[in-house]
Each structure stands twice: as structure tokens, then as C-alpha cells.
């Protein structure tokens, strides 16, 4: 067994402290760039896919107008996102967000009082999305609803 003193200092030229600092800084910078790139690729990969918002997804076919009586609302699902289409009278339809602006509970339509009610904290919204009562501070988002050839379409733009 031979003990081999492999000291790099003996056969390599002396490095000045200044030079050593520059090399250290360069190494650190290089490694940080690597780490940053690595983290960036992984973060970009992990970023959840959102619906791309193609035309087909921006206009939702809700169903035939005849199946929605006056004073009733229909729950529309857009992926995981609930929306309501309310028929306020013979002619007019309203599209509203189906999620309470307070704590994201899914609202329920109360046909008798013509309100959207929140099951969590007794909040309520009228057919125009305004806050009637409860902790919610903001009203609901409104969407354009259109009828063509007896079919209801909800526009999400």
C-alpha cells in the first residue's frame, strides 16, 4: 500500500487570491445559471394546463330554451367551473358566475325567492348578480346569453 501525496499545488502554478476569487465567482455563476435553468424547466412543466380559450370553449351551448321555464335557472358546467343561466322572464336570460365571491362555495338557485343562495354563510345574490345579504363583498360576474333557433348559448368573453 503506497501513500501517494497527490498535492495539486506542487505541480500547478500558484493562483493569486484575486484570480481565485474570480474563478470562484465564475463557478458560482455557472452553477447558479444551471440551477436556474433546471428549476425553470421543471416549473414550466409543472404549470397546470389551462383551457386555451378556443372559440368552441368560449361559447357554451346550454340547451333548448323550451326546457327552461320562466323563473328557473340552469347550472352550466364549464370544466370545473359552475355557471348559472337564469330565465327572468319570457324574453330575457341572464348568465352569472355560480361561485360565491366570499369563499368560493357553489351557489344554489332558489326559485321561490328568485335568488342565488350560498350554502356556506347564508349569502344571497339577486338575478343581476348583486349582493343581497351575507359576507360577500363583490357581486357575481355577468355573461352574455343569446338564443338562436331555440337554443341557449352562453358567451364567456
Amino acid at each position: 500500500m503506497t501513500l501517494n501525496e497527490e498535492s495539486p499545488k506542487t505541480d500547478l502554478p500558484e493562483i493569486s487570491p484575486r484570480r481565485r476569487r474570480v474563478i470562484k465567482w465564475l463557478t458560482g455563476g455557472f452553477l447558479s445559471l444551471w440551477g436556474f435553468g433546471f428549476a425553470w424547466v421543471i416549473a414550466a412543466f409543472l404549470k397546470p394546463l389551462h383551457s386555451q380559450g378556443s372559440l368552441g370553449e368560449r361559447v357554451i351551448k346550454v340547451g333548448p330554451l323550451d326546457s327552461l321555464p320562466v323563473g328557473q335557472a340552469q347550472l352550466v358546467r364549464r370544466g370545473r367551473e359552475p355557471l348559472f343561466v337564469i330565465r327572468t322572464d319570457e324574453e330575457s336570460l341572464v348568465g352569472l358566475d355560480g361561485v360565491c365571491t366570499h369563499l368560493h362555495c357553489v351557489l344554489q338557485w332558489d326559485g321561490e325567492q328568485e335568488q342565488l343562495q350560498c350554502p356556506c354563510h347564508e349569502g344571497a345574490f339577486d338575478v343581476n348578480g348583486n349582493v343581497l345579504k351575507g359576507p360577500a363583498a363583490r357581486g357575481l360576474g355577468r355573461y352574455r346569453v343569446e338564443t338562436r333557433l331555440g337554443e341557449i348559448y352562453l358567451h364567456l368573453t
Binding site: 500500500m1 503506497t2 501513500l3 501517494n4 497527490e6 424547466v41 421543471i42
Partner: protein
């Protein structure tokens, strides 16, 4: 700065056996010296620094280190892919399509995973060849060989289960061919068919989910354990056989190993990126179990057994051919127990001739298998 650091270290070392954890981590090819895990980390390190150890971080001893890097890369990219992949026959192919088309860097991660796996198999084969030529299977190093051979086997199974997962037509039929070959081996084949379901002629949803569990959980765990056992064995018995083995002061060994690791990482990463860009694995059409795609053979490493089975005359029953394959593989696994003492130069020459013959037979049958398929 350093005072603060050391106090953090002390805080943890009073609550954890850091030496043990450190030893566990460095077992993956960073430091080969033995550490006394009963002592505090700094004391154990200081003691280890006094003992000379062998310097392993040079070619061809770094093959295992490359394997560790590749296994780590496969675990990382595989974990990323598993976040989007859905292991059912209906959604497997579309979900990979989503990864490749919609997810940022999805194609890149997929290609890295594929080419990393191919490179891993290549490195493991090179490792086994080096162990054979270096005589690294004579006592007390039998286990180094056995672990190396088993790791190669696990890598084959990882590739085999992996290429079925996207349910592309190429992967699907290549897996079916592979299952047929495995099925020809008497006991082992029926066991595998029993475990993965399907019966070899097609891949059902049960087969797919079992392939998936094998690919993402059981086989990776086996690979990580095997490479750990390999390094554990090296820590105990060393990589003798090399005449130029130097024992040096361990003070520089750790830094040396880390530097080698950085170089290996960069080179492997560069090679994989190059392969992924220059020769990307194409995303084939979705498999239709009722439309066999002609001309698809088994994976390349199974071409030789495939060629052998096809070459066997009709009169030989399939189970006998399968048994011959099985015995050949078992002989490969127990090489250290068949050939115990190194012997003189004459015996070495015989071993070398046998090695060349085995390689020759393998290559010839592979070419034959490729032409038949």
C-alpha cells in the same frame, strides 16, 4: 458564517444520526471509505480522513457513478411525466399526447426519459462487460457481479414495462413480442403472465396498470436498492482487480469525486440533450389491438433470444428452447460461482475466448432476430 453553519449541524446531529444518513447518501458513489456511524459526523469524517482509501473516480471505475446519475435523472423525469400520464388504455395515448403537445418542455422531458433509459441500459451492459474482463467476480467480489447482473435485469424490465405505457402501436406490439419471448421460459414465463395478466397475446387494462405500478414503483425501488448494495459491497471489498489501483489520502477524495460527478453530470446531460434533439423518439399512432402492425420485433436487447427461438427447428418444443434460454441466463448470473479462482494466464485466455464467443453468438442471433422480425 461558518460558526452559524456548524451550530445548525450540531443542532441536527443532537437529534439525528447524521453520520448514518451521510453514509447512506455517500454510498451512491461519492465516497467509498467506511464511516463509523456510532460517532458524530465531524468526528467520523475526521477519522475517515486519516485512513487512506482507493481513488475510484476515474474511468472505467465511474461507470457505476454514471449509472447513479442516470437513475437519478430517470427518477426525476419519470416523476414529472407521472404527473400527467393516465394509465388506462383509453387515456394513456392521449395523455402522452397532451404532454408532448401542450405541456411546456413536455417533449423534452419525455425524450430525456427515453434516452436516459437507453443510455442506462448501455452503461449497465458496459459495466457487466468490464466486471467480466477485469475479473471482478472472484471471491470476495461475487456480489458485485450478481448485483450488476440483477441491476441490468431490472433495467431491462423497466424498459420493457415503460415502452408499453404510451400505448403507441410500436410500443404495444413490441411489448407483445417481448411477452411472448418471456412466456416461452417454462416457470418464470407463466409466473410473469400470471402477474401481469393478458396472457401474452394482448395488453388489457389490468396489464397496463400492473406494468405502470412495476415501472413507477417496484422496479425503481429495486434499482435504487441494488445500486446501493453494489456500492456497499465495494466499500467492503474494494475494486481489487485493477493493477493501477492507487490508495491515496482520502482528504482529496471527496472533492475529487464531487468534481468527477459534476463532469459526468454535464457530459451525460449534454449527450442526452443531443440525442433528444438529433434522434427524438417518434410519437407513433395509438395501438389497435385488432390490427397487428407487421415488422415490429421485440426490443433490441431481446432480439437475440427472439432470434434463437425463431432459429430453433420446429421439432424442438418451445418449452425446451425457453429452458435453454433460462439456463443461459442463470449461468450468466452465477458466473462468480462457476469460475472461482482467477487462475494463470492460460486460463485467462480461455475465459477471454469464451467471452468473445458469447458476444459473437449474441450479435449473430440479434442480427438474425432483427432480420426475422
Amino acid at each position: 458564517m461558518s460558526e452559524e453553519k456548524s451550530s445548525v449541524l450540531d443542532w441536527f446531529s443532537r437529534r439525528l444520526n447524521l453520520t448514518e444518513i451521510f453514509s447512506l447518501l455517500t454510498s451512491y458513489g461519492i465516497y467509498y471509505g467506511e464511516l463509523d456511524s456510532r460517532k458524530p459526523l465531524r468526528e467520523a469524517l475526521a477519522e475517515a480522513r486519516e485512513r487512506p482509501v482507493a481513488l475510484y473516480s476515474r474511468w472505467p471505475r465511474i461507470l457505476s457513478l454514471i449509472a447513479v446519475v442516470l437513475i437519478g435523472l430517470e427518477l426525476l423525469t419519470g416523476g414529472l411525466l407521472a404527473l400527467y400520464y393516465l394509465p388506462t388504455p383509453g387515456s394513456a395515448h392521449p395523455s402522452l399526447g397532451t404532454i408532448l403537445r401542450d405541456v411546456d418542455f413536455g417533449g423534452f422531458v419525455h425524450q430525456m426519459h427515453f434516452w436516459g433509459g437507453q443510455l442506462l441500459i448501455l452503461v449497465l451492459i458496459l459495466r457487466v462487460i468490464r466486471y467480466f474482463l477485469g475479473g471482478l467476480y472472484h471471491p470476495p467480489r461475487e456480489l458485485i457481479w450478481v448485483f450488476g447482473a440483477l441491476l441490468l435485469l431490472v433495467a431491462f424490465h423497466l424498459d420493457l414495462t415503460g415502452r408499453a405505457l404510451p400505448m403507441t402501436d410500436q410500443g404495444y406490439w413490441s411489448s407483445v413480442r417481448a411477452l411472448e419471448i418471456v412466456g416461452s421460459v417454462p416457470v418464470y414465463g407463466s409466473l410473469i403472465h400470471f402477474l401481469v395478466g393478458g396472457g401474452g397475446s394482448f395488453i388489457t387494462e389490468l396489464t397496463l396498470i400492473r406494468f405502470y405500478v412495476l415501472h413507477v414503483a417496484l422496479l425503481p425501488i429495486a434499482a435504487v436498492i441494488l445500486i446501493y448494495m453494489h456500492f456497499s459491497s465495494i466499500r467492503r471489498v474494494g475494486l481489487g482487480g485493477d493493477p493501477d489501483q492507487k490508495r491515496i489520502q482520502p482528504k482529496g477524495v471527496m472533492r475529487n469525486q464531487l468534481l468527477t460527478l459534476a463532469i459526468v453530470l454535464t457530459l451525460v446531460f449534454g449527450l442526452l440533450v443531443t440525442l433528444a434533439v438529433v434522434a427524438p423518439k417518434p410519437f407513433h399512432r395509438e395501438a389497435d389491438p385488432f390490427a397487428t402492425v407487421p415488422g415490429i420485433g421485440p426490443p433490441w436487447y431481446l432480439l437475440a433470444p427472439f432470434g434463437f427461438l425463431e432459429w430453433m427447428p420446429e421439432i424442438v418444443p418451445q418449452w425446451l428452447a425457453g429452458l435453454i434460454l433460462f439456463l443461459a441466463f442463470m449461468a450468466f448470473l452465477v458466473v462468480p460461482f462457476l469460475h472461482r479462482s482467477p487462475g494463470g494466464p492460460k486460463k485467462r485466455r480461455i475465459v477471454l475466448v469464451i467471452f468473445l464467443l458469447v458476444i459473437l453468438v449474441w450479435v449473430v442471433f440479434s442480427i438474425y432476430g432483427a432480420r426475422v422480425a
